[in-house]
C-alpha cells in the first residue's frame, strides 16, 4: 500500500505567480533584485521583505534591490491592505528565496565541486570547509534557470532545503533601519510628487462643488485663452485643464471653476443625526456570529456607540502621472493596488489591459483606500488630451479632504445580561454602517471617482464589505475576544448611501472594539468588579492574557484617580483590548488621561503580540503611529457637511492631533518566535480609542459613547 504523496500548498501569492524569476533576479554589480507586488505606503514593508529575502538567500541586506512594483514585471499580489503583507508576501518570498538558494547550492556542488556536507553561503558567496574553491550567485547565474515554477513539494525550511551554515536569521528579528528613509530625511526626490518626466505638463481637475452636483454649462473659451494653458478638457461633468506649469494650471483651474455653473442637490444626511441615517435603510442584514439556540431577547443592560465619517487626511494630496503613447498609457500612482487600478482604467476606457502599465511610486502615508487611484485616473484622462506628454496631476487639499473616500460613520447597539456571579451570561450586538470596500475592481465596478462624472458615466455602486472570512468590513472585530456562552452578533449594511466610503485603517474594527471595550467597562461597573479583573475572568486565550497584563503592569494599573498636582484636570486610566480581525495581532492599551472639559491623553502603555517579529522597531513604529492616529480620531476628527456640501476642506475645519496634544507612548512587543508573523499596522486603532474612552469615564464619572470625545460632547454629557 503506497502512502499518499505529501502535499504542500503554495502560499496564495506564489500559487498565483509561481515562476521563481518573477520574484528573484540575479542582477549585475553583485546585487539581487527582488520583485514583490506589495507596495511601500510608509509602513516599512519594503525593508521587512528585504530582510526576509536577505536571510533566505544568504546575502547581505545591502545586496538586495527592491524593484518598485509595476504591472509589467512584478508578481500580482493583489492590494496592499488589511495588515496582510508580512503574512502573504513574506511567506511567499521566504519560500521563493529558499528554493532559489537550494538551486544555487545544487549548482555550486555540481559545477564547482563544493562539498555538499559543508557548503555555506555568506554575502552571496558559496564556499565549503575544504576551502579549495568558492563561487557566487553571480558567477552561477548563467547556469541556474530561475524561469521555472516554484516546487510545491519543496516547502520551506531546514528539512527540505539545507540551510547554509548554522546561523539562522541574521537580519530577521533585528531593528534594521528603514531602507527608504535616508532619501526622505535628506530631502531628495522620494515621492511621486517629486517626479518629473521629460516634457511633463501640469494638470488640474475642477471637481463639482458637491457630491451630487451636475454641470449645467461652462464656457471654456476664456480659459483656453489664458497664458500657459495647453488644453481644457470636458467630458460630461468631468472638467480639467492641462497647462505648462503649476502656476498656470492653478490660474486656469480657478478660471474654469468660476466659469462653470452647477446644479446642486441636497443629497447628504443630517450630520448631527447620523444614527438615524444609518438605521433607516434599506439594509442588508446578516448574521456574523450566533450561538444555538438563538438568543430570545437581547439583554437588559444596553448601550449604543457611534463614530462619525472620518477622512484619511494624508499629509500630501493625492497625485498621479500619466503619459499616452498611441493606444497605450503608462501611469504612476501611489495606489495600494496597481493591478486592480490597471484593470479599472482599461475597463472604463475600453482598452485591453496590456495597453495600460501602472508603476507604483511612493506617496505620503496611506491609511487605506484614499484618492490615489482617482488621481491616477484623472491624470490618464487629462493626458489623453495631450498625447506624448506626461501630465502630473495633483489634487488640492480641499479635494483630498472632500473627495477621497471616507471611513464610514457607524452605530453599534450592544446588550448583555449578567448572571448573579457578575459574569456575562448573554451578549448581543447590532452594527449599522455603510460598506467599507469600494476599491477599484471590487464587485466589477471600476471604483474610480471620475468614472462617475464622465459623459459615458458608470454610476458607483453602494460600497460593499469584504467577506466575513476575509476579515469582514463593518463587522470586523464585532465578535468579542471574550468567552460569552450566548452570543448574537448581526450586521446591517446601508444600501442607499450618499457619501462615498471605502477602507480606512482597521475598517469597522475601530468602532466595534471601542463599543465592546467601553461596554465591558460598563458591565464591570454594574457587576462591581475591576475592569482588568473583569476582562481576565472572561478571556482564556493566554496570548490575550499576556498582552493585557503586560500593558497593565507597564501603566501601573489601576493608577490613581483624582486631581493631579501638576495639571488642572482629573486623571484616570482606562483599558482596551482586542485581537485584530480575531486572527491577527493582539494588542492591549492602557490610557492615562487628564480631563476637565478638554481631554488630554498623557500616556499610552501598549503591549502587542504579532507572532514572530521580523523587525521589532518597525512593529513599535507602526503601533506608536497607529495609537497616535487613533488618539486623533478619538478626540478630534469628524467629517463635516451640510445637506449639500462637504464643509471640512482644510486643516482648520478638519483638525488633527498636534505635537502639543500627542501622548507619550510606550510599546512592549511580546516575542512569539513560534507563532506566524502577522501585521501590526491596524492593531492599535480600536484598543486605543477604547482605553481613552474608559479613562475619561474613570476620571470624570461620565460615559461618552459617541465619538469624537470632544469638548462639546463632554459638556453635553455633564449637562445631560
Amino acid at each position: 500500500m503506497s502512502s499518499p504523496a505529501p502535499t504542500t500548498a503554495l502560499p496564495k501569492g506564489l500559487a498565483a505567480n509561481p515562476r521563481l524569476a518573477t520574484w528573484v533576479r540575479i542582477t549585475p554589480a553583485a546585487t539581487i533584485t527582488i520583485a514583490v507586488g506589495k507596495v511601500e505606503l510608509g509602513q516599512g514593508i519594503r525593508t521587512a521583505l528585504a530582510q526576509i529575502a536577505a536571510d533566505e538567500l544568504g546575502v547581505d541586506l545591502g545586496q538586495i534591490r527592491m524593484l518598485p512594483p509595476n504591472t509589467a514585471d512584478s508578481p500580482n499580489e493583489g492590494v496592499t491592505a488589511g495588515s496582510m503583507s508580512i503574512a502573504d508576501s513574506g511567506t511567499a518570498l521566504r519560500q521563493v528565496c529558499a528554493q532559489v538558494r537550494a538551486l544555487f547550492v545544487a549548482a555550486a556542488i555540481a559545477e564547482v565541486g563544493l562539498d555538499p556536507a559543508t557548503i555555506t553561503v555568506h554575502s552571496g558567496v558559496f564556499s565549503d570547509r575544504r576551502a579549495r574553491a568558492s563561487t557566487t550567485y553571480w558567477e552561477l547565474a548563467d547556469r541556474v534557470d530561475l524561469d521555472r515554477p516554484a516546487d510545491p513539494l519543496a516547502g520551506h525550511g531546514p528539512e527540505t532545503v539545507p540551510r547554509a551554515g548554522a546561523e539562522v536569521e541574521r537580519v530577521v528579528g533585528t531593528d534594521v533601519p528603514r531602507l527608504d528613509l535616508p532619501d526622505k530625511v535628506a530631502g531628495r526626490p522620494a515621492f511621486i510628487h517629486d517626479r518629473v518626466l521629460p516634457g511633463q505638463l501640469a494638470g488640474r481637475v475642477v471637481r463639482p462643488p458637491s457630491p451630487a452636483a451636475t454641470l449645467i454649462e461652462v464656457d471654456t473659451a476664456a480659459v483656453r485663452a489664458l497664458p500657459g494653458v495647453v488644453r481644457v478638457v470636458r467630458d460630461g461633468d468631468f472638467l480639467g485643464v492641462v497647462a505648462e506649469d503649476e502656476p498656470a494650471a492653478g490660474r486656469a483651474a480657478a478660471a474654469l471653476r468660476a466659469a462653470a455653473r452647477w446644479h446642486e442637490v441636497e443629497s447628504l444626511p443630517v450630520e448631527h443625526d447620523l444614527a438615524a441615517y444609518l438605521r433607516t435603510g434599506p439594509l442588508d442584514s446578516f448574521v456574523v456570529d450566533q450561538t444555538e439556540p438563538a438568543l430570545g431577547s437581547p439583554g437588559q443592560i444596553r448601550a449604543s456607540y457611534s463614530r462619525p465619517f472620518l477622512a484619511h487626511a494624508s499629509l500630501a494630496p493625492s497625485c498621479g502621472i500619466a503619459r499616452w503613447d498611441g493606444e497605450a498609457v503608462e501611469v504612476y500612482s501611489h495606489s495600494q493596488g496597481i493591478f486592480a487600478l490597471r484593470s479599472a482604467i482599461a475597463t472604463v476606457l475600453g482598452l485591453p489591459e496590456q495597453q495600460v502599465r501602472v508603476e507604483h511610486a511612493e506617496g505620503a502615508g496611506c491609511y487605506g483606500h484614499n484618492g490615489a487611484d482617482d488621481a491616477a485616473f484623472d491624470a490618464v484622462l487629462l493626458a489623453r488630451a495631450v498625447p506624448g506628454h506626461a501630465v502630473r496631476l495633483q489634487w488640492s487639499r480641499a479635494d483630498e479632504l472632500a473627495w477621497s473616500p471616507f471611513g464610514s460613520a457607524m452605530v453599534v447597539d450592544l446588550a448583555a445580561d449578567l448572571d448573579p456571579a457578575g459574569t456575562v451570561a448573554s451578549w448581543s450586538a447590532d452594527i449599522f454602517s455603510q460598506g467599507h470596500l469600494a476599491r477599484p475592481g471590487f464587485e466589477g465596478r471600476p471604483g474610480l471617482l471620475a468614472a462617475g462624472h464622465l459623459g459615458n458615466r458608470i454610476e458607483p455602486a453602494a460600497p460593499a464589505d469584504p467577506p466575513l472570512a476575509g476579515g469582514a468590513g463593518l463587522a470586523r472585530n464585532a465578535v468579542p475576544i471574550y468567552e460569552f456562552p450566548v452570543r448574537r452578533v448581526h450586521g446591517h449594511r446601508l444600501l442607499r448611501t450618499s457619501l462615498r466610503t471605502s477602507s480606512l485603517r482597521s475598517l469597522g474594527a475601530f468602532l466595534n472594539v471601542f463599543a465592546i471595550e467601553s461596554f465591558m467597562d460598563e458591565l464591570a461597573l454594574a457587576a462591581g468588579r475591576d475592569p482588568l479583573e473583569f476582562r481576565l475572568a472572561h478571556v482564556r486565550d493566554p496570548r490575550a492574557v499576556e498582552v493585557i497584563t503586560t500593558a497593565a503592569r507597564r501603566a501601573g494599573w489601576p493608577g490613581r484617580v483624582g486631581p493631579d498636582g501638576a495639571g488642572q484636570g482629573i486623571v484616570g486610566q482606562g483599558i482596551g483590548l482586542a485581537r485584530y480581525k480575531g486572527t491577527g495581532a493582539y494588542c492591549a492599551v492602557v490610557a492615562e488621561v487628564e480631563a476637565v472639559h478638554d481631554v488630554r491623553v498623557r500616556r499610552l502603555s501598549i503591549a502587542v503580540d504579532v507572532g514572530r517579529v521580523i523587525n521589532p522597531d518597525g512593529v513599535r513604529n507602526q503601533i506608536e503611529g497607529g495609537a497616535i492616529q487613533a488618539t486623533s480620531w478619538t478626540l478630534k476628527e469628524r467629517v463635516r457637511f451640510d445637506r449639500t456640501r462637504i464643509t471640512s476642506v482644510d486643516w482648520e475645519s478638519y483638525p488633527i492631533l498636534r505635537f502639543s496634544e500627542v501622548p507619550r507612548v510606550e510599546v512592549d512587543v511580546v516575542s512569539r518566535p513560534d507563532q506566524p508573523s502577522v501585521g501590526a499596522g491596524e492593531a492599535a486603532q480600536g484598543p486605543t480609542a477604547a482605553a481613552i474612552g474608559n479613562a475619561v469615564t474613570r476620571a470624570l464619572g461620565l460615559r461618552i459613547r459617541d465619538l469624537p470625545i470632544s469638548r462639546d460632547r463632554i459638556i453635553a454629557a455633564m449637562n445631560g
Binding site: 533601519p177 535616508p182 530625511v185 530631502g187 502656476p247 499629509l315 494630496p317 502615508g365 507602526q622 506608536e624
Partner: protein, 149 residues
C-alpha cells in the same frame, strides 16, 4: 532674493508662490507641497532664519529676504546632526513631513541649542504629521541637541 546663501534674480509668473518657484523653476523638490494654505508645515522654509510656509507666499514678497530651503541646509552641522538623529530614532513613517520638521528644528536649535522637551514640542507645533511619528521626532531633535554639546 537670496536663496541658500546666493543671490538669485529671476523672472516669475506674478501669481507664482515661492514654493512654485522652488519646486518648479529651480527643481528644489526637498520642500514639499502639503496644503497650499500655510496650515501644515510641509513646505516650511527659513525666511531670515524663521520658519514660514512657502506655499502661500507670493514670490514677489520674497525679494530682499534671505531664504533657506531644506536643500540649502546640506552641510550645515546642526542639520547634519538632526538628519543623523532622525535616522537613529527612525523618526518617520512616510517621511513627507520631515523636510518641514527639519526646518522648524534647525530654526529652534539656532536660537536655543539645548532646548527642553517642551520647547521642542512648542517649536514643532505648527508642523502636522499624520502617521504618528511625533514622539520619535521630538526624541530626534533632543538627540541632535545633545550631540551638539
Amino acid at each position: 532674493m537670496r536663496l541658500n546663501g546666493r543671490s538669485l534674480e529671476l523672472t516669475a509668473d506674478g501669481q507664482a508662490t515661492v514654493l512654485d518657484v522652488l519646486r518648479g523653476t529651480l527643481g528644489l523638490t526637498g520642500t514639499r507641497f502639503g496644503c497650499g494654505l500655510g496650515q501644515c508645515g510641509a513646505c516650511f522654509i527659513l525666511i531670515d532664519g524663521r520658519p514660514a510656509p512657502s506655499c502661500d507666499m507670493p514670490v514677489w514678497s520674497a525679494a530682499e529676504h534671505d531664504i533657506t530651503t531644506v536643500d540649502g541646509l546640506d552641510g550645515d552641522p546642526t542639520t547634519n546632526r538632526l538628519r543623523d538623529a532622525f535616522l537613529a530614532e527612525q523618526a518617520a513613517q512616510c517621511g513627507y513631513c520631515v523636510s518641514g520638521m527639519l526646518i522648524s528644528a534647525a530654526a529652534l536649535l539656532a536660537v536655543d541649542p539645548h532646548p527642553d522637551e517642551d520647547a521642542v514640542i512648542a517649536a514643532l507645533d505648527r508642523n502636522l504629521c499624520r502617521c504618528g511619528s511625533h514622539r520619535r521626532i521630538v526624541r530626534a531633535v533632543l538627540r541632535a541637541a545633545a550631540a551638539g554639546a
